[in-house]
Amino acid sequence: MSRPALALLPILIRRDRASLTATLLAPALALAAALILNLGLYVLLGRDPVAVVHAMLLEPFLSWASFSEVLLKTGPLLLIAQGLAIGFRAKVFNIGAEGQFILGAIFASALPIWFPQATGAWIWPAMLLLGAIGGALWASITAFWRVRLNANEILVSLMLSLVAAQLLYYLLLGPWKDPNGFNFPQSVMFQYDAMVPTLIPGTRVNVSLLIAFALSAAAWIFMQKSFMGYKLQVGGLAPRAAGYAGFNQGWAIWLSLLIGGFAAGLAGAAEVAGPLGQLQRSISTGYGYAAIIVAYLGGLHPIGIVVSAFFMAALYIGGDNAMVSANLPIAAVRVFQGSLLLAYLVAITFVRYRLEWRHAGHRNTS
């Protein structure tokens, strides 16, 4: 009997329970797959794959200067991803962390721009707090429309990111432009007290990395131990069970978006009050979007995210290196990030499913 070729392909069978092995293996497999795919692309581009691998994956760890830059990038990615992961677990898809990051930077910058003469050790903490509030407020617009009109939060938050970018350009080209800045779209340089203290002398790594680690611990307690975190997860896994138990879904949406906005805003504030020292056009290099990948690669688990944030930061630095030393196009890093996420999403299918080949043994008719 002839059977269609499709029937020869294996089929997906749901596992009785989630596989821990597959959970731990998925990021490694995804990385391997993305690496092979991208190296193939580099070869097609006519680049030397060995040099690219060296520049991208090894150089970030070979000198203290580059490694400290990896740590510097880890901070914002970690903060944003932890906030987003909480929402993702509740199936609230805040894709607009980029905009919330920008608003955080704007809110934080307001203080040193309006009070350039102010002094005191309170300024940088106040800026971080303002930034976090700014990010949360920006996210609250999305939450409002989602709860009120059931407007899709993915679209609203994403489009608000574009609005946020325009708002930033307006401020930098208009009211907040540095009068002595030769017409560059950037603000004045902030005073000394508006800068987050350096953590490791001789590098740009500052205290905000510690804050990111502290908030990671807080996220772990919130998601794994607290009843509020539990309610969010129920809402994400089984919305009808949440309704049955009387967990308010509108509340869950507000909370998810506010936490995500808070964390992204904080990261934005730490960026202007840290390595940049002023508000400028290029405050974010796609952190808000990269953090989505970080959150998923870390399995939406606070500890996994610490690892994946570090890895993604290394990839940023390595990508920069590769652009210079291996002459890769600027899009190469983005392509790598994207293929990594895609490979990971395929790989995590096997946490809950396994493949089964339709064997022919049963057709032993007599």
Binding site: F227, M228, R240, Y244, A245, G246, H362
Partner: protein, 507 residues
């Protein structure tokens, strides 16, 4: 017996560690109605899926009219002349009857319409070919499913629990159809766990228990008691007697409730009135799809009334129409929903975490954090007291069988010690032994003073449990009938709307 139409030898099928079918032998004679009898989980559905080619056996052989038969796919089965009517219909509600049939059977519309009419006349399967499926009753939909199977001229028709969706009067009509089909040369495999029906219509019965054949008899020569013993392997437990009614306080009262859902395919409810008192069980009969889920959600608080609709739903004397489920639970309300996975429990979470879903007020939290020790103690209690078969509190809810998960959810809700307990379909998918344990527990709770509301499709269950029965049909509720003075046929008349709902139900 002459050469059997279908003959199975040593058919086995395992799902992981579960051996759903072991060494099954089965012979279906031509022109016979053959029952497959067994409890939930006995392996009936698995066997039918193997015969229809939905799943493939691990071992064993099959023969069709003496020739080897490979059970590769449903398409293959249909080609050989095997048709199947599933318990859950697969019809498109927005299409007409003939359009639905056209999707599976080749042919021009006019021609198909003619054949539908002919089949309807010959076998008592009258249905309007141009009616939209959403406008049809459950009985009519079943007829459409059967007609769709008959269009391919099958020699063997498999019917999976066909009577579970029908009121008593329509069951007889279905039986008449089946007899006519048999006389027309079609063999029928009739799956059921209802003993009286099988005795009424079947020529032969194969009884399954725990995946094995435990009997192969002529059902007309055995009484229901015998068949039950073969089915469950022991005698049925005796029901415990209910104490007389006490006329306790009103724990749930619904007064003249009208409700129009937003969903156009949901059933609107009109002038619903009911009362449940302490020490009383009210049973709501009726076929699913007559407003049961809408009424459940209104009582549980998953659907909240608008502010204008005050004074419609009262619990423990308070107007709760606008309160959410959590607030109603605080008043002493507990609820077992009809769907367990995804509503009564989160499949991906452990039983321990599923305990928290509704039992968190029982001090399972400490300063907003989960108190794992107490939650584990609660879960272990529930597993022990309600005989939940599982690895332990860390097992995922989705890994339990339907019956065991139901026992867990029922246990969890009873352990909340509610004043008012609402159970929708208490024993769906639960095996006979566990089902009677659940029913006994409900009666004991009623005797201890709890007010209990039960929605069920099983009339026998309602008669065993209830003090009063009301029937839900097309979104309206019959007046309450005292269960001891009521016959199943009277309920059946309300179930098909034969008797007008009459005056508003007097609560």
């Amino acid at each position: 017996m002459s050469q059997p139409l279908l003959s199975l030898r040593g058919i086995s099928k395992s799902y992981g560690a579960i051996r759903a079918n072991q060494e099954i032998d089965l012979d279906v004679a031509p022109r016979s109605i053959h029952a497959i009898l067994g409890e939930n989980g006995a392996g009936k559905s698995t066997l039918m899926k193997l015969i229809y080619g939905v799943e493939q056996p691990d071992d064993g052989t099959a023969a069709w009219k003496g020739e080897p038969l490979s059970l590769a796919s449903p398409a293959e089965a249909r080609h050989r002349g095997i048709g199947m009517v599933f318990q859950h219909f697969s019809l498109f509600e927005t299409l007409t009857v003939v359009e639905n049939i056209q999707l599976v059977v080749p042919g021009r519309k006019a021609e198909l319409t003619k054949r539908i009419r002919t089949l309807g006349r010959d076998f008592g399967l009258e249905v309007d070919p141009f009616a939209h499926v959403h406008a049809l009753s459950v009985g009519e939909r079943q007829r459409v499913e059967i007609i769709r199977c008959l269009m391919t001229n099958p020699k063997l028709l498999i019917l999976d629990e066909p009577t579970s969706v029908l009121p008593p009067q329509l069951v007889n009509k279905l039986f008449d159809t089946l007899r006519r089909l048999r006389d027309g040369g079609v063999s029928i495999l009739f799956i059921s766990h209802k003993l009286e029906e099988i005795r009424a219509i079947c020529d032969r019965a194969t009884i399954l228990r725990g995946g094995r054949v435990t009997g192969n008899v002529d059902p007309r020569e055995h009484d229901a008691h015998d068949l039950a013993r073969m089915m469950i392997g022991r005698d049925m437990p005796e029901p415990i007697p209910a104490l007389p009614l006490s006329g306790g306080e009103r724990r749930l009262e619904i007064i003249g409730l009208d409700y129009t859902p937003d969903d156009p395919f949901a059933v609107p409810l009109s002038s619903i009135s009911l009362t449940v008192r302490a020490s009383e069980i009210l049973g709501i009969a009726g076929i699913s799809g007559n407003g049961q889920s809408e009424l459940s959600a209104l009582i549980s608080g998953e659907t909240v009334l608008k502010r204008e609709q005050a004074d419609r739903i009262f619990m423990m004397g308070r107007d709760v129409g606008t309160l959410d489920p959590a607030a109603r639970r605080e008043l002493g309300f507990a609820f077992v929903p009809e769907d367990r996975l995804g509503r009564g429990a989160v499949p991906e979470m452990s039983l321990l975490l599923n305990s928290l879903l509704t039992a968190h007020p029982l001090k399972l939290l400490k300063h907003g954090l989960i108190n794992r020790a107490r939650a584990a103690a609660f879960t272990n209690d529930c597993i022990r007291q309600y005989d939940v078969r599982t690895r332990g509190p860390d097992a995922e809810a989705g890994s339990l069988s339907g019956g065991n998960l139901q026992k867990f959810i029922v246990g969890r809700e009873i352990m909340l010690a509610p004043k008012l307990l609402f159970v929708a379909q208490p024993t769906w998918g639960v095996d006979v032994g566990a089902a009677s344990a659940i029913r006994q527990r409900l009666i004991a709770l009623r005797n201890a003073g709890m007010a209990i509301l039960v929605i069920s499709e099983e009339l026998e269950e309602l008669f065993e449990l209830s003090d009063f029965i009301q029937v839900l049909h097309h979104g309206t509720l019959s007046p309450p009938l005292l269960a001891v003075n009521t016959k199943p046929e009277e309920i059946g008349r309300y179930m098909i709307g034969a008797e007008p709902a009459g005056e508003k139900a007097s609560a």
